[in-house]
């Protein structure tokens, strides 16, 4: 069970350091808040059009959250020269990936849960009756974003231009997540039954599984230098 | 290097010949004239006339009398009598190409066939924008490879760069 203890240890380390100085979560949160404010200023509050574009606004805000927050996943290790120590762990290096992935997932879910009430506030949505489907959609889509984001963060963290390279790599390849999440959220917000949009959630699930598995196996090569 | 330029010279001549044949085919089979040219030059051979059918000028003839409409382009009108069969696609304000002869004594263009507008500037630009960068890329890569071989041969191995 050495493998799972490494996963747990890395995730716990990240959560603990985040709890002590909340810089990552707070920067993610305030950036998303800014995006929401700008959207609520730029679009007139005509309820029909607002209902059309609301899922897009929600997922653009969460996408920006991912870009800001996930790019720094491995920054602490690189700055403190810990990447070589990862090599010494006698576990498949995918364990490190899973630990980081779980930490990122929890950060992003926290920020999203805090942001949803703000959407209700600024855009006059009624989310309470759709709470469970929305939670499910957010969870599944965030798993996918986290999976891709952690992998690309490991690829770009040592570059000087990492702030630029990370979104350039992440955004094209996460298009299925955004399409699936927006369509599922649209179905949920319009009050349709779950069966009408559940194939989007299935698409997100397939994406998640493929990406976590592939990244897990490929992580071996990233630390292999 | 000389073989490189020779090969490319032959290739460019082949493409020039093909281009010339393509242009001559265009002039022979595709090129259209406008009503202005028709009225000013009055050619007698079979020509392709392109223009927009004027609103309200489409007169369907009763049995035995053919279609009449006027085509206009750049402000010049030419009246057309259409003797052919497929008349369903004729509508007001549609741009078409008709194939026929100019009858100067009657002042009408007698047409038997309708064609689609050629849109050849799109075809030309697609070919130009795709094939010319391709040729430039291949040529620059081959030239660079030839230059590198020459430079490596000249470079002596155990001599540090000054």
């Amino acid at each position: 069970m050495h493998f799972f203890s490494v996963v747990k240890w890395i995730a716990w380390k990240d959560l603990l350091s985040e709890y002590r100085n909340r810089e990552n979560i707070s920067s993610m949160f305030f950036f998303a808040l800014n995006v929401i404010l700008i959207f609520s200023f730029s679009f007139s509050l005509d309820p029909e059009t607002l209902k059309e574009i609301m899922p897009g606004i929600i997922w653009v805000a969460f996408g920006f959250t991912a870009i800001i927050g996930l790019g720094k996943s491995f920054l602490i290790e690189v700055n403190n020269d810990c990447m070589e120590y990862f090599q010494c762990l006698p576990v498949p290096k995918g364990a490190i990936y899973l630990g980081k992935f779980l930490g990122n997932l929890l950060f992003m879910l926290t920020v999203e849960i805090v942001l949803f009430p703000l959407f209700v506030l600024f855009f006059n949505l009624t989310l309470l009756d759709q709470f469970l489907p929305l939670l499910l959609i957010s969870a599944v889509a965030t798993i996918g974003l986290s999976a891709l984001g952690t992998l690309f963060s490991a690829l770009t963290v040592q570059i000087r231009a990492r702030e630029v390279m990370f979104p350039i790599l992440l955004l094209p390849l996460s298009v299925p997540i955004f399409i699936g999440a927006v369509e599922a959220t649209r179905g949920a917000l319009s009050g349709a039954p779950l069966s009408s949009y559940q194939h989007w959630i299935e698409l997100l699930g397939v994406f998640d599984v493929i990406f976590v598995v592939v990244s897990f196996w490929i992580f071996e090569f990233i630390l292999d230098y | 290097m000389k073989g490189l330029y020779l090969r490319w010279g032959v290739l460019m001549m082949v493409f020039a010949v093909i281009g010339f044949l393509a242009i001559s085919r265009y002039n022979r089979d595709v090129r259209t004239i406008s009503p202005r040219v028709l009225l000013s030059e009055s050619p007698s051979a079979e020509k392709r006339l392109m223009g927009m059918i004027d609103a309200g000028s489409l007169k369907r003839g009763s049995d035995g009398v053919p279609f009449r409409f006027s085509l206009s382009s750049e402000g010049v009108k030419a009246s057309v009598i259409f003797l052919g069969d497929d008349t369903e696609s004729l509508r007001d304000l549609k741009t078409i190409v008709v194939v026929g002869r100019w009858k100067a004594e009657k002042g009408v263009f007698e047409a038997a066939e309708i064609r689609l507008t050629p849109n050849y500037n799109f075809v030309t630009s697609a070919y130009v924008f795709s094939l010319i960068p391709l040729i430039l890329l291949i040529f620059s890569m081959e030239r660079r490879v030839a230059l590198l071989y020459v430079m490596i041969k000249e470079e002596k191995v155990y001599q540090a760069a000054v």
Binding site: I159, P176, L203, Y225 | L11, A22, L116, V123, S130, I138
Partner: protein, 238 residues
């Protein structure tokens, strides 16, 4: 040394590929532009298809080559294979850009739109962006071996993602609008099959030729820098 033998093999055979490609493309252009007749529905504009479809097919072929070479590099770690990966990525970007451009030029007279959010077009544009990201990553990573490894990883992830993107967008379009737009909805007359086949095979062989030349170019650049003492490690060369 394996690399030198491989480069010698490339040098010997590339001329044949280039020659066959040149003949096929010349024949394809001749039959496409001079002897074949225009399409019944699309008119002369169908001639754009004679360059567009081969470019798109070659773009997908070249991305597949990039994927295979990336796996080979992660397995064997040979520098020449990395050169082949870099070459394939550059060529893939070129053919993808050419495909997007010619497709857009074809779309304007046919659909009266420069761009539509079709499954095929969207996944093709995503492919273009992935390749741009690949080349930027390679430029930004200074250490060559790490750059090669990371880019190989990116190519593999991108290849796995492309079918997912294609299916997800197809799902999305088919729900929004019955997809009546297709790039080849009409059965092809035999008169038009000849230029299609000639150009398709010709451009694919041309891609093989360009890959050989470009791999050589990158390898030789590397070799020249090593001989000039600019590389810290010359371990790949004798």
């Amino acid at each position: 040394m394996v690399a030198t033998r491989f480069i010698g093999w490339l040098r010997r055979f590339e001329k044949w590929f280039g020659f066959v490609a040149a003949i096929l493309i010349a024949a394809g252009l001749y039959t496409g532009l001079v002897t074949s007749s225009p399409d019944y529905y699309q008119g002369e504009v169908v001639r754009i298809m004679y360059v567009h479809v081969p470019f798109v097919q070659t773009a997908m072929l070249s991305y597949f080559t990039l994927f295979v070479c990336s796996i080979w590099y992660l397995w064997k770690r040979e520098s020449v294979v990395d050169n082949a990966c870099h070459a394939a990525a550059g060529l893939s970007l070129f053919f993808t850009a050419g495909g997007l451009l010619t497709g857009s030029i074809w779309g304007k007279p046919t659909w009266n739109a420069w761009w539509v959010w079709d499954p095929r077009l969207t996944s093709f544009a995503i492919l273009f962006l992935t390749l741009v990201g690949y080349l930027m990553l390679r430029t930004f990573l200074e250490d060559k071996e790490k750059g090669a490894t990371f880019c190989a990883i990116l190519a593999i992830i991108g290849f796995i993602d492309l079918p997912i993107i294609h299916f997800s967008v197809e799902w999305w379009r088919s729900l929004h609008q019955p997809s009546s737009i297709s790039t080849r909805g009409i059965s092809i007359a035999p008169d038009m099959m000849v230029p299609f086949t000639l150009m398709g095979v010709g451009v694919s062989i041309l891609f093989a030729y360009m890959l050989m030349v470009r791999t050589q170019m990158l390898y030789l650049q590397h070799l020249l820098e090593a001989k000039q003492g600019r590389l810290l490690s010359e371990g790949q060369f004798e």
